[in-house]
């Protein structure tokens, strides 16, 4: 590792991964597929999509679409159409931007295809329940709500019974909707692909363990769309295998995300999509690498097929995800990431749009054993972003490390 003279410090550039270009192609293909799909459902990011793929239902992810709008810096533009209809600026900005796209009839990718039904799972928030109720009235289609109890302290057997029962109801719902049979054999194959995909995505994230790290967590954010939208198909397996190889090559050739890596940080919450570049450059210039995050790691929970029947195991996995557990359990998971990635501090994004992710962060901060800083922003709506305030906070924080 060569030492850089002070005056060249600011010249460090973001090192783009080839994988990101490949991801864009894959996602373009995914979106195009939606135009021809015969069976379409809109689905929340934490829902068990495996059931949809097993029934050849094309899953549309409004949240991913929201992130895409945010990254295109068009959040305020599309949100304003929803606000004109009376949707408050205090509501989730993914919901506002997506609804705005429906009202104005377009989006950065030309709008989303009309659903046959809506599949909402409240393991990530109760916002999606309300958001999907609005969609249900707009499109006049039914909602299937997979209701997941919150695990504040312990995951009770009664919770698993409850969710498992609903999953069987969902199978019936799918069979009735399409007048077709749910094939167990196909479902098992989808589940196998899902598990493999999650594993290979997890291996990519683990590359951040390397010191110095070959990737920034923003690389993981940018490239998470396949594991969210295409989980249960072949695409993520191939894609993340290639991405991992690229990162291994970097390590082999001594190329790291940040030259002269001095500090290693953990990011908490959904990214600030419209400022990813700004954040990346800010940290790179200060020889600081965000090596991991709590968000992408939420997609690495594995379904264990050995112990129980697959549906019960799936129920358990989808109940226990990061956002659906109490603060003590969240801190346990954060501490595990801190140890695993050997980080020096935590950057906590207090995200106006995401109450379940953000409320409790002040308590989490007190429970952590390493330094942390809270910055106030929003994932998609740039109107609340205060650059100077955030810059000052982060500068002051890095000085304490």
């Amino acid at each position: 590792m060569s030492k850089m003279p002070e005056n060249e410090k600011k010249k460090q550039k973001i090192k783009k991964l080839k994988a990101t270009a490949r991801m864009r192609e894959i996602m373009l293909g995914y979106y195009l597929q939606g135009r021809q799909a015969e069976r379409i459902s809109w689905v929340t990011s934490g829902a068990p999509v495996e059931f949809l793929y097993a029934m050849d239902v094309y899953p549309v992810y409004p949240e991913n679409h929201g992130a895409l709008i945010g990254a295109s810096k068009m959040g305020p533009h599309f949100a304003s159409y929803a606000e004109a209809k009376g949707f408050s600026q205090d509501l989730c900005s993914y919901a506002r931007s997506d609804l705005g796209c429906i009202f104005v009839g377009t989006s950065p990718i030309g709008g989303l295809p009309r659903p046959d039904f809506l599949f909402a799972c409240n393991n990530i928030c109760n916002t999606v329940v309300k958001w999907y109720e609005v969609l249900s009235r707009i499109f006049d289609v039914p909602i299937f709500l997979l209701d997941i109890p919150f695990v504040r302290k312990e995951l009770k057997e009664s919770y698993i019974d409850y969710v498992e029962g609903q999953l069987y109801e969902f199978i019936n719902f799918l069979e009735k909707t399409y007048d077709a049979e749910f094939e167990e054999k196909k479902f098992k194959e989808v589940l196998r692909l899902s598990i493999e995909g999650v594993k290979s995505y997890g291996e990519v994230l683990l590359m951040g363990k390397h010191k110095p790290s070959p990737l920034i967590c923003f690389d993981a954010f940018l490239n998470m769309a396949p594991i969210v939208c295409l989980r249960g198909t072949e695409a993520p397996l191939v894609f993340y295998k290639e991405m991992k190889e690229e990162l291994e090559d970097r390590v082999k050739n001594g190329i790291y995300a940040v030259d002269n890596e001095k500090y290693r940080l953990l990011w908490d919450n959904i990214p600030v999509w419209y400022r990813m570049r700004w954040f990346s450059e800010f940290f790179i210039e200060r020889n600081t690498c965000l090596v991991a995050d709590t968000y992408t790691n939420a997609w690495t929970a594995l379904v264990d097929l050995k112990k129980k029947n697959p549906i019960r195991s799936l129920a358990e996995t989808y109940i226990a995800i990061y956002l659906n557990v109490g603060l003590d359990l969240m801190v346990e998971k954060i501490n595990r990431l801190i140890d695993l990635f050997d980080v020096d501090g935590v950057v906590i994004h207090s995200n106006r749009s995401c109450k379940p992710y953000s409320f409790g962060q002040y308590e989490i901060q007190k429970m952590l054993n390493i330094p942390s800083v809270v910055i106030e922003a929003d994932m998609t709506d740039s109107r609340t972003f205060s650059e100077s305030q955030i810059e000052n906070r982060l500068e002051a924080f890095l000085e304490t490390l």
Partner: protein, 337 residues
């Protein structure tokens, strides 16, 4: 009598009373928030922030607090509360999805809740105690419903939420005899929304000249259960019939936007309530997602029905002057037809 606090009207008070505690609803006061600011973000609603402030100020003398996962804010508030107090904190997982297939899960949750209360007191909750408690609350709710049909009494409801149900039953019986059924030619307004624990705010609406039809969380949604079963036919030797009754009762509770109902029951409920009124006021707490998601489509439908609507977005402490002016101006436009 020791007190057990709760924030959401989906909390089965009957069980708490049967365990020998006084169930007390925790409501924000009309004071500025300062201590709570280092525990929860400013984009949480005034009810959450204000209640937490009261805890931190040492304003609440409670043995325990019961949370239900009604909204994302309450879901997280349970832990924040526990980290900052010595009170016992319990979360009852009331389903979000309300239909026949989810009721069994709720019954299990009721039994778990019962066991927890029994642990707290070291005493068993017997069928007789629970049935008596159910009958007491049913009586209270029936009286409040009759009073509200004549004229909403927000001072009484606030006390019903925080004082002994026995005492309020006696008072409500007396009150019912006193009040006259007189509405005259007043314009009627449906006031729909979240938490507003300040009778003085509701008084502004009456003072402006309106007769109020209520759909508030601190109003009719506290005591309205649609098509409640007969509570006379209990099996007094077995707890099951009482649990079954409670599960059914809370599933037919006046619909709330935090729940997902079959056939869009909440939306239709508001439209039905608005049928015969002259106007509708949305009295919503700023940052309350469940209500604000429903608002635009409800407003659209109501306006198509020819109703004038007004949105009042509340934060505590309430800025009274401004609120009064807006309500008075709204009354003017409504009475001009």
């Amino acid at each position: 009598m020791k007190k057990v606090g709760y924030l959401c009207t989906f909390t089965p008070k009957e069980m708490i009373w049967a365990a020998g505690f006084l169930p007390v609803r925790i409501l924000a006061d009309n004071q500025p928030v300062s201590l709570a600011n280092s525990h929860i973000q400013s984009y949480s609603c005034s009810q959450a922030r204000g209640s937490l402030e009261r805890l931190l100020k040492g304003d609440l003398d409670l043995y325990g607090v019961v949370f239900t996962r009604s909204c994302d804010t309450l879901m997280r508030l349970a832990d924040i509360w526990e980290k900052n107090s010595d009170m016992r904190v319990y979360n009852l997982e009331f389903p979000t999805k309300i239909n026949n297939s989810t009721k069994n899960f709720f019954k299990k949750e009721l039994l778990d809740f019962k066991s927890t209360l029994e642990e707290w007191t070291g005493r068993e909750i017997g069928p007789k105690g629970l049935i008596d408690s159910i009958r007491l609350y049913n009586r209270l709710e029936e009286l409040l419903a009759r009073i509200f049909r004549i004229s909403p009494d927000y001072e009484l409801i606030t006390r019903a939420e925080t004082e002994s149900p026995k005492k309020i039953v006696e008072e409500a019986e007396k009150r019912l005899k006193e009040i006259e059924k007189r509405r005259g030619n007043k314009k009627t307004v449906l006031v729909t929304g979240s938490v507003c624990p300040f009778p003085e705010v509701m008084q502004f609406i009456s003072d402006a000249g309106f007769h109020i039809v209520d759909d508030l969380c601190t109003g009719t949604r506290f005591f309205t259960y649609e098509g409640i079963e007969n509570d006379k036919a209990f099996n007094e030797t077995n707890i099951d019939s009482a649990i079954e009754f409670l599960a059914t009762k809370y599933f037919v509770k006046a619909p709330c936007p935090t729940k997902n109902y079959e056939k869009d029951r909440r939306y239709k409920y508001v439209i039905e309530k608005a049928k015969d009124v002259d106007a509708v006021i949305f009295l919503l707490l700023k940052f309350c997602e469940p209500h604000f998601f429903d608002y635009p489509q409800l407003r659209e439908k109501l306006e198509a029905m020819g109703k004038r609507t007004l949105l009042l977005e509340l934060e505590f402490p309430v800025s009274e002057g401004q609120l009064r002016t807006r309500i008075e101006a709204f009354y003017e436009t409504v009475s001009e037809g």
